[in-house]
């Protein structure tokens, strides 16, 4: 958290009139100003910084990919109720966006990612994973097909060096466009209604993972029916300059439907309930894992990883074909701890022996229980698992061993996520 960056100093920032539709956002807010030395600000702000600052009651910020985003804007409980009951809007601009274009963009991507892309239509997206030659995961993300020869890969971390290296021999252009595209995440059962209310026609016909070009308040945006909440949701990709106006328009039109702004803590909680791992948190990119044991295979992270082992040649293919026949050493599982109060969870034990580690944990309001994503040795998955929990009581901290069980399904997985037409209204 960096409260000192909550209100950027300087005349340019304060000169932005939020009520002026023609107002331009200082591009330096999002992209590092080349004249400014890197140490001057250790975190940058997103194009939505001023609007989210205005919404913030807590002034709690968190650092994400070198940018500040709100951690909690009002109250996590309120934000959660909006997410599951109506809709929320959040700033996800710090995601890394890479544009891949060129005559051989398809061939290149087919080599790069583990799954088969031949069925990927223009204006649709798929979840992709990509591995190094040893079959260890480098990252995962959403791949959009924007045109016949144009794609956009959205990831949690940057993979530019590896993508550029893999592009050798392909007539393809790979560029980091992160700082030119802002992203607003609109999630929740009423998210389609909010978009319709804001003037986006025909949104309900958009299928899950599909995308379309539209306008809100005269500002062009690319809307995809994506998100990591286990429910209906959309992600709005706009020019950095337009983003604050899209945000305000949506908040105005969605207010009557119960649309609320939300922060990063809710994003984490929603993805935990949906059982989705995040790079850098639940797994480390094989290029960042100092201990080789920290690098994971897709079979350890996902029960049905998006890969096509029958594809002739792709990065990590040979290793993945071998690994596909083996039992993964560890598995990422969703655990439910039998305890009523929120507690911090750390080590997974089986018969007194440490067999894994909790990577993300939180209190799930949907289940009314502590849940956690944890990497656990496969050999122990059948056993009686418990997890160490720490609870502060006054000045003392109490360690307890909580029994846990593995959840067979995510804590939240609504049929609305894929329903066509998307429900307008509850």
């Amino acid at each position: 958290m960096t409260p000192d960056t909550a209100h950027p100093a300087g005349d340019e920032a304060s000169a932005i009139d939020l009520d002026d539709e023609r107002a331009k956002v200082d591009p330096a807010l999002f992209e590092a100003d080349p004249a400014e030395p890197p140490f001057a600000r250790s975190v940058l702000t997103t194009p939505l910084h001023l609007v989210t600052s205005a919404e913030s009651r807590t002034n709690r910020w968190i650092r994400w990919n070198g940018y500040t985003v709100p951690e909690v804007l009002t109250d996590l409980g309120d934000e959660y109720r909006a997410l599951r009951g109506t809709a929320i809007l959040a700033d996800h601009s710090p995601l890394v966006k890479t544009r891949i274009s060129g005559r051989e963009a398809f061939d290149y991507l087919q080599r790069l990612v583990a799954r088969d892309l031949s069925l990927l239509d223009v204006h649709s997206s798929v979840h992709v994973i990509f591995c190094e030659s040893g079959g260890r995961v480098l990252g995962d993300g959403l791949l959009f097909r924007l045109g016949n020869e144009e794609y956009r890969l959205v990831t949690e971390e940057s993979h530019l060096a590896w993508m550029a290296e893999s592009a050798e021999g392909f007539r393809v252009r790979v560029e980091d466009v992160s700082a030119s595209i802002a992203m607003l995440s609109l999630q929740g059962p009423l998210s389609a209604s909010c978009l319709a209310e804001a003037g986006l026609e025909g949104i309900e016909k958009l299928a899950a993972f599909g995308a379309l070009w539209g306008h809100i308040g005269g500002m062009p945006l690319y809307v995809s029916r994506t998100g990591a909440t286990g429910d209906l949701g959309y992600e709005l990709w706009t020019d950095a300059e337009d983003a604050p106006h899209v945000w305000r328009r949506l908040m105005e039109r969605g207010a009557s439907l119960g649309l609320r702004p939300a922060g990063f803590a809710l994003r984490e909680l929603a993805r935990l309930e949906a059982g989705l791992p995040r790079a850098g948190q639940d797994y480390l990119s094989a290029f960042a894992a100092v201990s080789a044991a920290d690098a994971v295979t897709p079979f350890e992270l996902w029960s049905a990883p998006p890969l096509a082992t029958e594809k002739p040649v792709f990065n990590g293919g040979r290793a993945l074909r071998r690994l596909a026949g083996e039992r993964p050493f560890r598995r990422l599982v969703l655990l439910r701890a039998e305890s009523f109060e929120p507690a911090s969870l750390s080590t997974v034990l089986c018969g007194g022996r440490s067999v894994g580690a909790v990577t993300t944990a939180g209190f799930s309001p949907a289940l009314g229980a502590n849940i956690a994503l944890a990497l656990v040795e496969s050999a122990s998955l059948e056993g009686n698992l418990s997890v160490t929990a720490c609870r502060r009581e006054g000045l003392s901290s109490r360690e307890a061993l909580l029994p846990v069980r593995i959840l067979p399904a995510p804590a939240w997985n609504s049929a609305r996520r894929v329903a066509i037409p998307a429900p307008l209204g509850l």
Binding site: P37, F39, G134, S158, A164, A288
Partner: protein, 534 residues
């Protein structure tokens, strides 16, 4: 006759570390030094009244946390300043700074290449992996000190385990790192010449290899040795003792004294006494004899064997083997006192990385040419200059407003191809350094109130370090680990019973500050059957 459990020759950093460990283990320790003040290579002096800087070294670097806590040095006032990793200044006016914060450093590399900014993640991973492999080997004696057939066998098997635990990928990484030139190694990660030069410049310092010389890639790990690999994702930091190297020396002296050790200055050891093939004590220049159960030498390997003993007393072949150890002077030291803070118009104002040092370097081919000059014993034309202005972060080192500047000039030969260094040549070197400094800090010459230039020869003459080799022997693989100082005598133990080497001529060399002293103490205590903390 005066008698002690152990005598340490030389009150340098490693001698004092060894003495402190031994004294804390309950031994009666006497430290002898021919100088007037302790510190040896780490000693400081006043170049002008109130301006203090380390005379022979840059003065950066920290003792490993293990030694600091073992010896309780924090209680003796030792503190370290953690600074950013420093800035490389290129001849065309460009600069590249290190930052510990991964996000900030990523942006710094992005000024040169976005792809490289991303590639740094993998480079950092591989450096930290190398450190994790290296750290256990550096933290303990190269030889376990095990005696007897079974003890040695067990030690060998433990070593074999380390190797057996390596995967083929690990093996390939190790091989790559220990055989490749730094330039080729960096090419497998980065595309930008300035990014590569920045990483190479920090690593080549102090070594006798150029960046394009095979095996120099191993040096790239050096700046990372103290890194623990936290999640910050940035560049390694620079450590320096608060209060200068004299504060570090004082903390050690105080720790030795507190544990009952005795330090005697102006006591030059001229001879080590051998009886029945065992070392029994020493003789001082004034003829005084002192007996001891063990003698530890903090002098370099050549000086230890070739000047402290009658050669006829030494075991067969030892003189020859010691003679073959390569020790080469590679750096000159230029010390400046400045009456005002130097300004760097080419660097952004307030750049925090300046406190961690400035490196005046060209790109990798230019560094290699500087190295070639050294090999051909040419007076340096375009040397690699490593500058530290410790008073920027530690104002106690200079009077108010003043600053001290240390410059280590690399690839300076001990002797020139056409004869020894003359006064003229020495002045020319000083002028060259001032010219290079003025390129990044115009007008710096007007603020110089004192300057001194120390060539490798001066270092040898003043403190007796053979060839002025600050590394106490080349740190190439053939003179490292169990081969340091020479094959068959790896570690602190020597072919002479009761005589130990506690200088960086022994494992782990200059790579771990105080490591050689700690190893010597631990080897001696193991031989004595004492359970010291070392």
């Amino acid at each position: 006759m005066e008698r002690h459990d152990a005598i340490v020759i030389g009150a340098g950093l490693n001698g004092l570390v060894a003495a402190a460990y031994l004294a804390q283990a309950g031994l009666d320790v006497l430290v002898l030094d021919r100088g007037t003040a302790p510190g040896g290579l780490a000693s400081e002096h006043e170049i002008a009244p109130g301006y203090r800087l380390p005379r022979f070294t840059l003065g950066s670097g920290g003792l490993p946390p293990r030694i600091v806590s073992d010896l309780g040095l924090a209680d003796h006032g030792l503190r370290f300043i953690r600074a950013e990793g420093g800035v490389t200044c290129f001849p065309d006016g460009r600069y590249h700074a290190s930052y510990r914060d991964g996000v900030v450093y990523r942006r710094e590399i992005s000024r040169f290449s976005r792809v490289d900014a991303d590639a740094f993640t993998r480079y950092r991973r591989d450096m930290l992996r190398a450190v994790r492999r290296l750290a256990p080997l550096l933290a303990r004696p190269a030889h376990s000190g095990a005696r007897g057939l079974f003890g040695r066998l067990r030690a060998q098997l433990a070593h074999a385990d380390l190797i057996a635990a390596m995967s083929p990928d690990d093996m390939r990484d190790v091989l790559r790192l220990w055989t490749l030139p730094a330039s080729d190694f960096l090419d497998t990660y980065f595309e930008d010449d300035f990014v590569k030069a920045h990483l190479a410049a920090a690593a080549m310092i102090g070594g006798t290899l150029g960046p394009c010389t095979p095996t120099s890639a191993a040096r790239l790990v050096l700046p990372w040795l103290a890194e623990t690999g936290d999640a910050s994702g940035g560049a390694p930091e620079t450590l320096m003792p608060a209060g200068g190297t004299s504060a570090l020396v004082q903390a050690l002296v105080s720790a030795v004294g507190a544990a009952g050790g005795v330090l005697r200055m102006e006591a030059e050891v001229t001879d080590v006494r051998i009886r029945d093939g065992k070392v029994k004590g020493i003789v001082l220049a004034n003829g005084e004899e002192i007996e001891a159960r063990a003698v530890l030498s903090g002098l370099d390997v050549k000086r230890s064997f070739l000047s402290l003993f009658q050669w006829k007393d030494l075991p067969e072949g030892l003189v020859e083997r010691v003679g073959r150890v390569r020790m080469k002077g590679v750096a000159a030291k230029v010390n400046l006192a400045l009456d005002a803070a130097p300004v760097f118009p080419g660097l952004p104002e307030g750049c925090p990385s300046i406190g961690g040092g400035l490196r005046l370097a060209g790109t990798i081919p230019a560094m290699e040419r500087a190295f070639a000059d050294w090999r051909e014993r040419m007076p340096p034309r375009d040397p690699l200059i490593d500058v530290l202005i410790p008073s920027l972060l530690d104002p106690s080192l200079a009077p108010e407003g003043g600053h001290v500047l240390s410059a280590l000039v690399h690839y300076v030969p001990e002797e020139l191809h056409d004869g020894p260094w003359t006064g003229e040549r020495r002045d020319a070197l000083g002028d060259l350094v001032m010219t290079r400094l003025a390129e990044i800090s115009p007008g710096i010459a007007e603020h110089v109130i004192a300057i001194e230039i120390l060539l490798p020869d001066d270092v040898e003459n003043e403190i007796g370090l053979t060839s002025g080799d600050l590394s106490h022997g080349e740190t190439t693989l053939d003179q490292f680990f169990a081969n340091r100082p020479f094959p068959g005598a790896g570690g602190a133990e020597t072919p002479l019973k009761n005589f130990y080497l506690c200088s960086p001529s022994a494992h782990p060399g200059p790579l771990v500050m105080g490591g050689a002293g700690a190893n010597a103490a631990s080897t001696l205590l193991a031989a004595m059957g004492k359970r010291g903390r070392a």
